[in-house]
Amino acid sequence: MASAQLTDKELVSELKRLGYTPGPVTESTRPVYLKKLKKLWEEQPQPRGSSSCWLGNTIQSCIIKICLVPSNAICQLTFLSFSVVLHPFGPEFDLHYDVKDRDLILNLLLSLHEHLANVAGEHDCGDLKNSLNRSVSFMSVYLSIYLSIYPITLCVPFSCSLGVCWFLGRLIGADPAQPIEDVSEISRLESIHPRMSFFCRLRRAFFTVIHRVLFVLAGIGVVLGLVYYMKYRWRKEEEETRQMYDMVERIIDVMRSHNEACQENKDLQRYLPIPHVRDSLVQPQDRKKMKKVWDRAVAFLSANESRIRTETQRIGGADFMVWRWLQPSVSPDKMSSMPSKVWQGQAFPLDRRNSPPNSLTPCLKIRNMFDPVMEVGENWHLAIQEAILEKCSDNDGIVHIAVDKNSREGCVYVKCLSAEHSGKAFKALHGSWFDGKLVTVKYLRLDRYHQRFPQALGCNTPLKPSSSCMNSMSRLNQRSSTSSSLGFS
């Protein structure tokens, strides 16, 4: 007889499950309890997903069919209204059982397989909470077979062969991780081809696709975010470095001019306290913002600038870090020191020989204001514009200035409100020295100007220099205030 009989424990648990509390299962009480179990199963209301009852019913109907057929005649089993001819069990199976048994077995297996698939499919589609629902208790299957086909002994050996069970699906033992060695270890059967409704499959496919697409998008998003962040950081770094160099240059200028002032005025100390320099260069509202830039500039200077030395001096009783300008000036003549973006006077008086008698158009082209090769930084064109505005500060008729950064001649284009204003500007600019270069001006045709600069068509407001300190005019103002007359007048 088969080894996989219902153990006492299983019998007891089955009975308990059906609501009956049994006593001990002994040799003598066992048959009685089995009968009781069978009766309870039959009495049970048919729940939808219960595998055991279903199987019991189909097998029972199969049995009933068999019994109805006269036992003497050769009975053709018409269980599922077709007979299964193909099976994976090999020729020994055919030899071992005769036709009707074979059909019974195969049909049984087929229905069991389908049922398992349905159970698995239902579980996968519906609630995924209890993973135990996916599989069917082997015992309940066996029970139903055993109890229903009790009189027929053939089903017992077949149902207990491991090969058959493999055909049905996945075998799960008591410990889900271990493989099954023997039939007695099987505790549950699970289908590996779950059968899900079309709608359910559609839904699952849809969700899978959506999830994959989302993952891909998320990956792309992360990569893009990284790229943008790197770009942003890089840009910020560049900006800060540029600001630092700008600050360094301004500090050098201040030191140099202070040095020159010291040349004249021997009472001044030759060094400048660093905080004082900072406070003079950086506006109060910017000090906090520029702190990092300032510190970098200070570090740069102490490491890389040889003409400025950092010392500690005692000023007014407190210790200060100071800078001292070390480079001796080449000559006491301040005119030979490098000019930087300042107007330096008129080269020749304007008369009829070198300028048109009356102003022709409101547009001017100013040449030789700068050398594009020598210019460094981002905003030197603003300094040029400022210089022009400051030179023509009395003339509030300039509405548009454009610095042509790429022109080798250093051209700047200016548009004024009227010909009269441009004439005044002409007189102020033509023939002046700026930054060591001689500036020349000529008139341009208005329509050509508008062709070149269409944005000037709408400009009507006069432009003013942005700061009132008039840096580019400092030389001229200085010279006019002192009585010394040097150089080029």
Binding site: S28, P31, V32
Partner: protein, 75 residues
């Protein structure tokens, strides 16, 4: 009950008694034991009786009542 034979039980005559003895239930108290193991369940005990010695309904009922009353009185 003591050592009374199984035929002392109500409903169990010679034939049934012999069958029971063959199965190993030679004394009344053994059958009582079986009755108690079946938790004094009427249906199960009847079933068991029928399977073991082929008792008919009347015999089953008599035996069951007999044992139940004994238990009610003495247990």
């Amino acid at each position: 009950m003591g050592e009374k034979s199984v035929m002392a039980l109500a409903g169990i005559g010679e034939v049934l008694g012999k069958r029971l003895e063959e199965k190993g239930f030679d004394k009344a108290y053994v059958v009582l034991g079986q009755f108690l193991v079946l938790r004094k369940d009427e249906e199960l005990f009847r079933e068991w009786l029928k399977d073991t010695c082929g008792a008919n309904t009347k015999q089953q009922g008599d035996c069951y009542s007999c044992l139940r009353e004994w238990c009610d009185s003495f247990l």
